[in-house]
């Protein structure tokens, strides 16, 4: 099990990363935190992580499964390019099946378009 901490604050690193509608581009603001996850995974080669890709409810379910995978793959590519071993991470898409917030509102949708790193 992994519990990466922020080296400057000692607080647990954020494990949820949000995306724009129908996009799989990692937010610039998230790159530093993701880089720290990559460092953690490099220093702990026995640790494995699952990248869960999620979408908001809008649009069709099967397309959203593909979109959730694309988001998880974007994070996966970043981590691997930052030195994480490809065998340490697995990408899984849940599409719109597992919303963080089940309501139908812009605020809920923004919380649901995400990738979660699960150690």
């Amino acid at each position: 099990m992994g519990n990466p901490l922020d080296p400057s604050t000692g607080a647990p690193l954020s494990r949820v990363f949000y995306f724009d509608y129908d996009e799989a581009i990692i937010s610039r603001d998230d790159l530093d935190v993701l880089a720290l996850h990559a460092v953690f995974l490099q220093e702990n080669r026995n640790v494995r992580a699952v990248l869960e890709g999620h979408c908001d409810e809008r649009g069709t379910r099967d397309y959203n499964l593909a979109l959730g995978e694309r988001r998880a793959m974007a994070v996966s590519s970043f981590l691997v390019s930052s030195g994480t071993g490809a065998s340490q991470i697995e990408s899984v898409s849940y599409g719109e099946e597992r919303p963080a917030n089940p309501n139908s509102s812009e605020a809920a949708w923004a919380q649901n378009r995400r990738v979660e790193i699960v150690y």
Binding site: D22, E57, R58, G59, T60, R61, D62, Y63, L65, A66, L67, E69, R70, M73, S91, V92, S93, Y94, G95, E97, R98, P99, A100, N101, P102, N103, S104
Partner: protein, 448 residues
């Protein structure tokens, strides 16, 4: 990767006694045809002593209302209640402006079968359009009623009825919580008599019927990853068909039932494949159709099997494309709007129904395969998962009512609309069965 070892594991589903929690869907008519056909379904004298709720003539009347094309006369407005043809006084029905009349009775044979003796009468022409019997076992009361509705509908409109068909859908309870529960359910076309085919805490989606309706295929996240499963309705027997690296989604039978179209991202990103079901374990049975770094998903077969429509964002936004088996080249079909997904091919072969986004709303739309424009059929805003009735007259789809997922139905011409709100949970991912082998006997006595 243990996909290959898991992929072909056959096992029997243990049919434990499931709590009888079903969707309990009501029918709420939102819009009927502009000039519905005026019909009177006279209450059948029911010598088999049915409860009021399950009276065969009531079920027929509700079926005809749901089609949107009929406006049955209220029983309280009927000037007489004829039980047989010689009790019909045409003047009573002309005064009530009724065009057609259904009369009959229900008897029980000594063997215990129910026999509906009934007639369909053209009031203006003063002639019998259909007369005869529909016969079935005690448990077939609803099937007898739906069969009568089919005969009435086809005799008057010339279009095959779809009242005896089934719906497949996913009922989700406690969505968004750790107690989330998914049920794959099979019910009558009016939502009645639901049975649970599969229950799980892991997501179930994309169910559809085999062409003979003996089995269903669906996506199930058993073990936390998506896999494509087939389950036989009568036995509950189940097999895993595909669980490759990445996502495995969108299984749809070919019209002849020999192959599945499906989506897998095993080669790096989602592509459309076909899988030969005669030998699904062989790698040679899996044929890749698309080759593009974009998302390719949501396949459906053209009615004649000559091609597959699918969603792709290869042009920058998701649009509908057609893969033709002879030209082997994807051709774009939708050009209006920047989001068109999940096309279903109409049984008539010349149209597709799909989800279209406009002004940040997601509507069910329909278009001719070959040309624009598209026609938006719904006012609901979060539509998805369209499926087509086998007679091509109606489309069922999933949408939202407040925060609840519900099923809704719209006629292909947009004139008729009804909803199927459920008393519990979220209902989603509908599939409409093909026409089924009859479970009741129909004996036409011949019209006069």
């Amino acid at each position: 990767m243990n996909a290959l070892t898991q992929r072909f594991a056959f096992y029997l589903l243990t049919l434990v006694a499931l709590p009888s929690v079903h969707a309990q869907m009501a029918v709420v008519i939102d819009q009927g045809a502009d000039n519905p056909i005026r019909i009177a379904v006279v209450p059948f004298t029911d010598l088999a002593d049915a409860s009021e709720r399950e009276r065969i003539s009531d079920i027929v009347s509700r079926d005809l209302v749901r089609s949107g094309q009929f406006s049955p006369l209220a029983v309280t407005d009927m000037l007489s209640l004829p039980r047989s043809q010689d009790e019909v006084f045409f003047r009573d029905w002309r005064i009530s402006a009724v065009d057609y009349l259904v009369i009959g009775d229900v008897q029980r044979t000594t063997a215990g079968d129910l026999v509906a003796n009934w007639s369909l009468i053209d009031v203006l022409g003063e002639r019998v359009l259909w007369q005869g019997q529909v016969i079935g076992g005690e448990s077939k009361r609803r099937d007898i009623a739906h069969r009568i509705s089919d005969v009435v509908y086809e005799s008057i409109t010339g279009v095959e009825g779809a009242f005896s068909t089934k719906l497949l859908y996913v009922l989700v309870q406690d969505a968004g919580t750790s107690r989330v529960n998914y049920r794959l359910e099979l019910a009558d076309a009016d939502g009645a008599r639901a049975v649970t085919l599969l229950e799980s805490n892991e997501p179930i989606l994309s169910p559809s019927f085999s062409p003979d309706a003996s089995s269903v295929v669906f996506v199930w996240f058993q073990g936390g990853r998506s896999g494509i499963y087939q389950q036989w309705i009568a036995s509950g027997e189940q097999r895993l068909l595909a669980r490759f690296q990445g996502i495995n989604t969108s299984p749809v039978f070919s019209p002849d039932g020999t192959r599945l179209a499906l989506v897998s991202s095993r080669d790096g990103n989602p592509e459309i494949y076909t899988l030969d079901l005669s030998n699904p374990s062989s790698d040679a049975s899996l044929v890749r159709l698309t080759r593009h770094q974009a998302i390719d998903t949501e396949p459906d077969w053209l009615a004649d099997g000559s091609g597959i429509v699918f969603t792709s964002d290869r042009g920058g936004q998701p649009q509908i494309y057609l893969y033709d088996f002879s030209s082997v080249r994807p051709e774009r079909l939708t050009f209006q709007g920047d989001y068109n997904t999940r096309a279903r091919s109409m049984p008539t072969g010349d149209h597709i129904a799909f989800i279209h986004r406009i002004d940040n709303r997601y509507h069910l739309a329909i278009k001719d395969l070959a040309r624009d424009p598209i026609t938006i059929l719904t006012e609901t805003a979060l539509d998805e998962s369209p499926a087509v009735a086998p007679n091509a007259a109606m489309l069922i789809y999933a949408t939202k009512q407040g925060n609840q997922g519900i099923l809704a139905v719209v006629s292909t011409d947009g004139a008729v609309k009804y909803r199927l709100p459920s008393a519990i949970g979220d209902v989603r991912e509908p599939a409409w069965s093909p026409q089924l082998a009859p479970v009741v006997r129909t004996v036409e006595a011949g019209a006069e």
